[in-house]
Structures are given as C-alpha cells and as structure tokens.
Assembly symmetry: C2
Homo-oligomer: 338 residues x 2
C-alpha cells in the first residue's frame, strides 16, 4: 500500500524529563508487511509510565528502544493488509506496536480484539489489555489481600492504581489511596469509596499515612518508589507485602539515586518485596478476565479514560504521566474506527 | 541461693561501633527465681550479629534491650534451682537469656537440651539452636534453590553463612561465597568445596562477582546489605530471590543511610526480596532437624566454633563479629559443664 505515514522515532535518550528533542515525528512511506506480518492502521495508542523506561538505556525487562527506532507502545488497530495466516483485512488487533499511523507487525505478537460483554472496544482494549490485569495480578497474586487488612496504593487515581484500590475494597481491605490533586482525592473518596485519601503534593505524607493507617500497613501497592516507599516501609506490619509495580518517581532521575533508607524494615518486619511485570502473567489472563469482566459489568470497578486526539500530541501527552496531570488511563486517539 | 553474680548491663546505646562504655560488668547477688522461673547457671553464651541490633533503639523484631537491663543473649545453662513444674536441678536448658553468670528465667521460654546423636552438647546447642535453622529456613523456604542455580552467600565463613552455602551445594547449586580474609576464603574453597570465593576486603566485589557468576545470580543469601547488596542486585537473574537474613554492614551506621541504589532491579528483574527471623519458624524446627542432623552426622555440613573463655571477655569478643575477625560460630565459655 502506498501513502504517507507519520512515525515518532527516538532521537536521543532523555536525561531527566522527556524534552521535545527526545522524539521526532517523521513522515515516511507506509511500510510493506513481510511474510508473517500484517499492516495495521493504528486506531489507538496507549501511553504508559513504562514508556519512560523504554526510552532509557538502563537495565530493564525488555531491550530499550534503539536510537532511530519507532517509539514502542501498546496499540489497538485494524488490519488493512495481511501476509499472515489467520488474519484478514478488517480484523481489529491489539498488541505491542509503536507510535505511528501505520505499522507492519509480526502477527504472532498480536491478539484479535472484540468488545468484552457490553463494554466498548476502546474500553475493552484500554482497561483489559494491561491495566486491569496488572492491578489484578499485582494485588491478588503478589499482595495476597485478606479481609480486614490495610492496603495503601500510590497513583491511586491512575489507570492501574485506581483498579488495584477497588479490587482491594472488593476483597475487604481497608484502602488508603494517594493522589496528587484534591480533585483526584475527591474522586477516590466519593466515587471509589476508599477509606482514606492523601494528597501527596499538599500533605506531609509520613504524618498523613500514620493518621490514615492506624493499624499499620499490610500491603503497599507501590507505583512510585522514592520517598513515599520510605514512608510506607516504617509503617509496614509484620509479614507485610510490598507489590513493586512501578517506580515512577525515579524514572526521570538522572543517574543512580539512593534506594529506600528504611530498607532494614524488610528484615525487621519480615516483609516480602516483589516486583512483577504483567507480561509474566499472559498465560493466566483468563483468570483475570473471569474476575474483571463481571466486576466491570456490575459497575464494581470504575475507571476513567483520558483520551487525547492526534498522534502529533503523543509527546506532550506522555509527559503528563510524570507530572500527575492525567486522570485515568491515557490514550491517544490516532484514528478511531468509524 | 546466695553468692555473687556477674552481669553485663547496657549502659548506653552505641552510636556506631560498640565502645567499652556501652556495657558495664556489674557484681550483684545471684537472683532468686520467682514462681514459674528457674535459676540457671550459664554454661555458654552465644554472641550473634543481632546483638548490635538489640543494643539500639531502632525499629526491630523485638523490643531493644532497655538501658540498665541485662544484655540479651542466647544461652546454654544448667538449672540449679527450679520453681517451675517440669524442670529439675541439673537439667540442661537453652533459650534466650542474658550476659551473666546466673539468670532467673521464666521456664516457658526454655528448652531442655540433649546432645543430638553423636554431637557434643556444645555443638548441638551452638549449631542447632539458631544458626543451622536460620540457614536452613532462609535458604530452603525463602531462597527455594533449584539444582543448577547460582547462589551467592555473604559472610560465607560465618556461622549462618557457612551452613547456608553448604546447604546450597547439597541442593545442587553453584555456590559463590564472600569472606574477608584469604584464610577464610581458602577454607570455603578447600574444605567446603564452594565453586567460587571472593575476598571482599581485597577484591573489587562488583568485578569479582561478575567473574564468579557467569550465569548471573539466582539466589542471594544476604547477611550484610550495603554495597555488596547493590553489587548483587545488578547481577540478579529474572525471578531471582534475595534472602534478607541480616544487614550487618549497616548495623554500626550512625543514623539512616541510603538504601540500595539498584533497588529498581526488583521491578525490572521481578525479584522477590524477603526478610525473615528464625524465631518465626520455631513451629517448623523438626523439619530443619530432620535435614540438618543427618547432614551433620554424615560430615556433609562442616562448621567451626570460635570459643572465647570468660564472661568478662564478652564485649571485646562481640566486636569481632563486625570487623570480620571471628571464624565460625562465636561462643563465650562462661562456665562449661565439667
């Protein structure tokens, strides 16, 4: 297929914040799919905190994006040409792709998408591809919540955090959420019915946590690392669990920064600190779907999508993940299906 | 019973190293046992890295020793007067006691001791009370070693480390041990048959670990924390385990020090970092004994006792645990049974 394509390529590695010179939007011919590949028109692009990790040449869970390469991202798209058995023009697919209008992708890395129950296609893809399963496996498999336990969740108004917090409530936990604006805190308190909320930008987090968690912390669902991790460590109860889902407060840090000062709590309180990446759980996705889809249908899991129009806005949009400006799951509408 | 007793009492909390003014040796009357207590003549006193923790007013797994109180320690002793049912004069007992010639102790905290199989009473108490079970449960329960995996052990010539390293060998691991003298390294290599040894005082630990662990590290049995923990973190394999048994390099640090700089490896490599205290495993001691006693009998677990004569030498002896001077399990012979 001829025609023009827009592609965000990684120009240089960010030193701290993502600056405009880190990625450049190139105009290129639409690629031709090779054998085993499909050509995909990207409908939606997911922006996630881990994007910042992929831009950096640091040790991580998959190779970083190479300089000059298309920026990596989870996409939802429509097959417009197939050179792979089992895939046809018009199929809607999801998987790891890139920041572009059109992508030639190996079919083996793609899943066909269909709306789950009464959800829209966008919601199905945005919530059930990564965000929902991340919250589910992180909390259930690693956090192992028991009714009556205290769960603390950071970035609680974010995509993963808000679902983890609500699953905690569904499991009978006393749930305290941290977010960065009063508006987000109000949403957590009034709509998600969390037991406690903390605005980490205006409150003294250590004091606020002590007040909000009178029985200590049994599970800390950690999306941020840094100072808040330290504040939680001193409040962890015996045999507490720290679910290491993200360390977003450290991603923009230039060079190595000190780790948690209160690391000794791991020994003294016999904690289990465990990292995970949802990709490790692909084989157990049916289990997550069996729990999440009914909860979504019954309105027991609320979520917010933060949809930004236009591939050209991807770089300005992604930065909002690190400033706390976005609300809920951040998605670029590249070319929504009509 | 009348008579004179010598008792080490905590005078002040150490700021960094244990200085001579931290403990004072008092001469006092021998205490009278209350109802439910026994009067014990201390035969042996165990000195352990955790002693430094108990001296400090930091968050820990049991209350610190109070100022003016008898310094806490694991003892082996002989009952010379009983006011508790089930205990009689002449019984040999073990349990948490203190740094003294005579102690009046609640009987419910004591166990009667008998030599295990062909071991001496001293060896039975010194190796099987805490040290052996600590190594066993830490490595087996938390480390979950599989044949062919690489295990790194710090303080590998020490009481717990040497047993953990040998259990690793018995489980088919490739075992690399760190110790602080060439003499200790030679013992690890020649007598314990470890696959790799590193003198952490004379070698560049990060480089030496990379060389000694060509397949990365699957299990790190951490007795020290600090810089060596950081060096191990960057070498951990996917789904590796860090057994947090001790953090001795940090115990003498004044005030909070930074945690591991490479903490993000927990997320990127999906590590499990888990702290434990052997006291949590008391109910599973029979399992440890069933494994350890035959290994000891068959000569598959070697150990060294470092016996220092005289209660008056306890303070100078305990400091050797933090300088790397002692070899094997450190014990004070207070009044060995005749």
């Amino acid at each position: 297929m001829a025609g023009q394509n827009r592609v965000w390529r990684l120009s240089r590695r960010p030193k701290a914040e993502i600056t405009p010179d880190v990625l450049s939007l190139e105009r290129e011919p639409v690629p031709a799919p090779a054998d085993g590949e499909v050509l995909v028109r990207v409908n939606y692009l997911s922006l996630d905190p881990t994007n910042r990790v992929w831009m950096s040449d640091i040790p991580q869970y998959m190779p970083p994006v190479g300089l000059g390469e298309v920026m990596r991202g989870l996409i939802c798209g429509t097959v417009i040409e197939s050179r792979a058995p089992g895939f046809s023009e018009g199929d809607v697919v999801g998987g790891l792709g890139g920041w572009a209008d059109y992508l030639a992708l190996p079919a083996r890395g793609l899943n066909k998408l269909a709306p789950a129950a009464t959800l829209s296609l966008l919601d199905t893809w945005a919530i059930l591809s990564l965000v929902g399963p991340t919250a589910y496996f992180g909390l259930i498999d690693i956090g192992q919540p028991k009714s009556g336990e205290t769960l603390v969740v950071t970035t609680a108004a974010g995509a993963v955090g808000s679902i983890a917090a609500q699953i905690g409530k569904l499991k009978g936990c006393y749930v305290v959420g941290l977010a960065g604006t009063d508006d987000k805190c109000a949403w957590l308190k009034e709509d998600l019915k969390l037991d406690g909320v903390i605005n980490y930008k205006t409150e003294d987090v250590a004091q606020a946590l002590r007040r909000a968690c009178p029985k200590g912390i049994d599970i800390y669902f950690d999306n941020v690392g840094g100072d808040i991790l330290d504040a939680c460590l001193v409040l962890m109860n015996l045999k507490g669990r720290i679910v290491t889902c993200g360390l977003i407060s450290t991603y923009n840090a230039e060079g190595a920064r000190g780790g948690p000062k209160n690391y000794a709590a791991i020994l003294m309180q016999r904690l289990r600190v465990q990292g995970f990446i949802v990709l490790d759980y692909l084989h157990r996705y049916p289990e997550a779907m069996a729990a999440l889809v009914p909860w979504l249908m019954e309105g027991k899991l609320k979520y917010r999508l933060d949809v930004v129009d236009g591939l050209e806005n991807a770089v300005t949009a992604v930065k909002r993940l690190y400033t706390g400006e976005n609300k809920g799951k951040l998605v670029i509408a590249v070319a929504p299906p009509t």
